[in-house]
Symmetry: D2
């Protein structure tokens, strides 16, 4: 079972709210930086995917918040691919501090034609590129 | 069955990304403004809740994105309360444009003591205040 | 001397930082919404300018912070045009609470060709559209 | 003449706007991360300053935008201290890509008592800590 792709990100002052913790919406932004790093590891860059004529849009997100992160904390962000469908794929994300789980998310992205924004099947090069970080879960295909 | 509490919010230039649409993370921020408006309608203001010694933290979010919103679009944001638990509550959120569903979310907030940040039971005044927008769903209690 | 164009904007929870006040960077975003409203008043919308083949980019900003704004405060944002140059223009912005000055800014935008991003002279329709909010200051032309 | 304190920061997808470039307001946020790094280098952390009972607030910012930065660009952010006043100090900031200047800013922060938010004189430990990055400019004192 492959290890997640991990990178680190420091919580900025402006991202912390009146409760003294990183505001919830920023986690979708943090997990999006994990997608950027995944694309860099798999294809060289996010731009390399665009150059091949496809793009991805977020269709669904589920986030669970376990404990707060604070200003200047350095989050360890991990991502694995848990499902490769016909036109969409799912990733599982974690944010940790000193090994403790801060937040986790499951994202479902849809692949689209870059020019028309219409959904399009995952090409083989995209499947192959994600393979090193793919932990495909059991069970029947989950949705489109 | 009560109508959702609705307010309007215009998508800002800075909230739109390279795909020309409002970036996904901003929707958690948009739906948070709905919570602020719900608290205003129910208790006078969010501050009025803090003044009574409690606060709320987001424990879980599920968001589905149906179609994009663009710069200068005026979103119609709706919120209803779908579950009042012992120490947490759930809200359902919609973002619409001209009646069409743009995004929807289910949020679960936990009530906490403002000073200790430890979870605390929902007081009666809080339950009563939310009643006009509460569409309590059937079935057994969903979690804590 | 014409009155500024004014609109109102409520400070969001996520925009307030550990000091309990709206974080400084958000003011550039707030003043950008004033530009959007100015374009709506002058030309129908920002998009109407794009449709005529030009766009604007921020070249310089000067912001002074006088007193803090807090969560749920409703800022009164005002904008006037203080200089119309050959290829750029300057606006003066204010953010007020109950008449008291919270922050003020002077922005210099450059007009560019929408497709090439190269700076281009202000067309007459653009000058005419801004006239109702133009408080042209004395003195020699300020820069390009 | 001391070298600026430099750190690197990657432009996020969500920070880029409809023009395909990092939106202007984010630069104040980027330069704020430089202040965090300056405080880390000078005192161990920003928190170490708070622990000594003082905090800082931004009083004035001047930003010039020279060329755009794009998604996934890694900015080189530099900061030097250019003035240490009685109760305030000024810093000069640069954002570069491959040596080319993208944006520069001059910020003036005021030191305040952490509890009362009233401005307070710069203590010696604060002046001493900043000395390695202080390029004090000539001329009479600039403001308070």
């Amino acid at each position: 079972m492959p290890a997640p792709l991990v990178h680190r990100l420091r919580v900025r002052y402006a991202e912390c709210d009146l409760q003294g913790v990183a505001f919830n919406a920023h986690y979708l932004n943090y997990f999006d930086t994990s997608m950027t790093e995944l694309w860099r590891a798999a294809y060289g860059s996010y731009q390399a995917m665009l150059d091949r004529g496809v793009d991805m849009v977020l269709a669904e997100a589920r986030v669970r918040f376990h404990r707060p992160a604070r200003f200047d904390d350095e989050l360890e962000l991990g991502v694995v691919v848990i499902h490769l469908g016909r036109t969409s794929f799912r990733t599982n994300h974690t944010a940790r501090l000193a090994g403790e789980l801060v937040a986790e998310a499951e994202l479902r992205h849809v692949l689209v034609d870059r020019r028309t924004a219409v959904k399009t099947p995952l090409p083989d090069w995209l499947r192959d590129g994600l393979a090193p970080w793919a932990v495909i879960t059991d069970g029947p295909p989950q949705g489109p």
